[in-house]
Symmetry: C2
Subunit: 465 residues, 2 copies
Amino acid sequence: MKRIHPIDVILHKRDGLTLTDQEIRAFIRAIVDRTPKKQLVTDSQIAAFLMAVFLRGLSPRELATLTEAMRFSGEVAYTEALNTFTIDKHSTGGVGDKTSLLIAPILAAAGLAHPTPEGVPGIVVPMISGRSLGHTGGTLDKLETIPGFNTQLSFAEMRDVLKQCAASLIGQTPHIVPADRILYALRDHTGTVESAYLITASIMSKKLAEGLNALVLDVKVGSGAFMPTYEKSKLLADLMVETGEASGTRTVALLTSMDEPLGRFSGNWVEVWECVDIMRGTRHPMSRDLIELTNILSGWMLHLAGRACTPEEGAKLSDQILHSGEAYKAWLKIVAAQGGDTTIFADPAAHHIPTATRTLTAPRSGFLTSMDCKQVGWAVQRLGAGRANPGDLVSAHAGIESHAKLGDRIEEGQPLFTLFAEDEALLDEPEKMLRDTLRIRSKPAPRPPLIHEVITANEPKPAIR
Amino acid sequence: MKRIHPIDVILHKRDGLTLTDQEIRAFIRAIVDRTPKKQLVTDSQIAAFLMAVFLRGLSPRELATLTEAMRFSGEVAYTEALNTFTIDKHSTGGVGDKTSLLIAPILAAAGLAHPTPEGVPGIVVPMISGRSLGHTGGTLDKLETIPGFNTQLSFAEMRDVLKQCAASLIGQTPHIVPADRILYALRDHTGTVESAYLITASIMSKKLAEGLNALVLDVKVGSGAFMPTYEKSKLLADLMVETGEASGTRTVALLTSMDEPLGRFSGNWVEVWECVDIMRGTRHPMSRDLIELTNILSGWMLHLAGRACTPEEGAKLSDQILHSGEAYKAWLKIVAAQGGDTTIFADPAAHHIPTATRTLTAPRSGFLTSMDCKQVGWAVQRLGAGRANPGDLVSAHAGIESHAKLGDRIEEGQPLFTLFAEDEALLDEPEKMLRDTLRIRSKPAPRPPLIHEVITANEPKPAIR
């Protein structure tokens, strides 16, 4: 067969032709196999390809093939060896979004309750998470506030944890989807980040490398979402579902609100604290939205895993698992298996030791009608909880506590946010950012719904009558 | 003012916004000013920009600004110092296209005949030419078959030759339009060569760096043209005329046929020989199309320079200058001024010494109705006269002689082409290429017209009646 040259792949995409599977695989292979001495493909060629994809888009098959080629560009989890139902959840990122810390134990509890004939949990969750960047938080940063907790497991170590605990919470390694690392670094400085096609290939290649039977996607919409409009979030959800299903992974996406921080706390240790409280039976009113979203997402996962006839029944089961303390037991097991010190959970509030605290109060009475949730996320970052650039250090104790939710009736002088930082000087700018973004109006405005839409691969077709 | 970052220029072009003059200038400046240590803009960013321009195009103003920014990215000829009418011709490249070797002397003769009050020729032609590449020939390769002829003059040396001879035939230097060298090298391997916008900026920036009052463009159409369709050649002509006029250079483009080799010979020394023959009064029947095209192009130039009331009168004047021997006198002057040995022109045929010759004869009688002129160009290249890659060596003596033109009545066994090479082994493949591309049919087909269309900046508008 004729050897495929990267330049031909660029030309075909540039001219709007559909790339063949062979062309896409050869291009990704060249990216991964090149060495400084043997430049099978140059950075400039990859950049030209990325811009052509940005402007031309990809057909469903091209996108599925690109995702598969990236998925298999490095190490894959090989969870098939466990011979059980493998499922995960992925969120496009938000503020105070800590559902992973609850969902992994809930599904693990369900998996541990019904082992396979071989003695493996009936459901496993091989969750690979990311770090905070920009206005969004990162699950790994939260987990690493637990002393001893090791997120840097190999896939072999992860499989051992899964066998024992049914869930594992780990980080990306350089061996997982190396093609994405190379592409992402180039996209970042060539203006090709915000392509729904390239985002889909990036996210889905990493998720599918876990070897999943099913995947539930939490695609954020609203002022704190990564995608700028509802339509673009929906396109991203559609593409991810289509791509997941094409690879044989049952995939469902929920478009959910990110118009205000989710739950009570946004930060690192404070988010672990909030989850531990919930799993131990405390239901703080500010955590209500977090618990609801967690149960809906877990409900879909339990449904896809065959533990509930409908997602709604799944959500009820999820809530039971949370309430009964089973999720907390699974959580302690996972943390211990990954080297974490579980004694810290005995009194989580005692371990929240910011050196500087300030409370932002309402300047007038009325209704809290809106905020720019992205600005709130940036305020949390500036307090020290997040990072502006990859590699920056984050504070365990920085963050915010929400005292009111959108739609709430507010009295003048009532606390709206408490800010935490490790240095008094870090409070001023975030306080101003938060103050500027809050809108208190005399008339109430409707709260945005928590779930906007559920996206599955096959939309119902109109019947012929 | 806010500093302009290359990434923003990429994003704006990607998103279909119109780039400001400042943005375009800053981007080109960053390309030229960067050093290995200070990567103001990376190759990947330039590649992404080029692909975005390829797919989005450029507005007339963006194109004019880009061309100007590139033009002034290095040394410019500063022919304004001569205080005379400066004019040039540019061809998009063809097979056997040697009009430059005739047009420069014709215009020089006209310029020398009417000096300015300061004693400078009334017209000067600061012609910067290129080398053979792929299926097209290069003026520099032809000139360098003249012993001693130096094409590597500085702009200062060129101005001295212009003062004395009214024309100068030189090559590109690294100091002229350095931005184009960088962009072109990247375009070549990122699939962004065939953009009419980028081609226009590349050609026009180099031509306008000569400091021209007027420019006549010979844009080839047909099977031997660089652009694949008539429409694309016309788009290129339109863009080049628009861009030339925007910079204050009177610009006209002629769409001319490149369906068969122009004139009698295609190669290097053989083309010089053909021109010397013409300038010394020999009118070989196979040179008829070459002489006609030369006179039409020179006619436009003489018209634009104010020496003829119409292009048609200009063409008549050009033919007189050719006939009278004035062009030949100017030619000898130019060659001598650039160090060339003019004694070689006394018997040019004697200096044509290929070691291998073969004649291709007609396999049947009929009419020569078509050939793939690009294939003919590649055959000339394979004989040794051209180069597949920049930097390859070319043979002075390789080439072909045409014995028939499209539309001619052919008798079986009559010679069609004579092939010249410096090695017998080099004849076989080109002979087959030529044989395969020639079509002899029983019925005649009309010859394509030599000139298809003349493009000026302002198309006539319908009158209001």
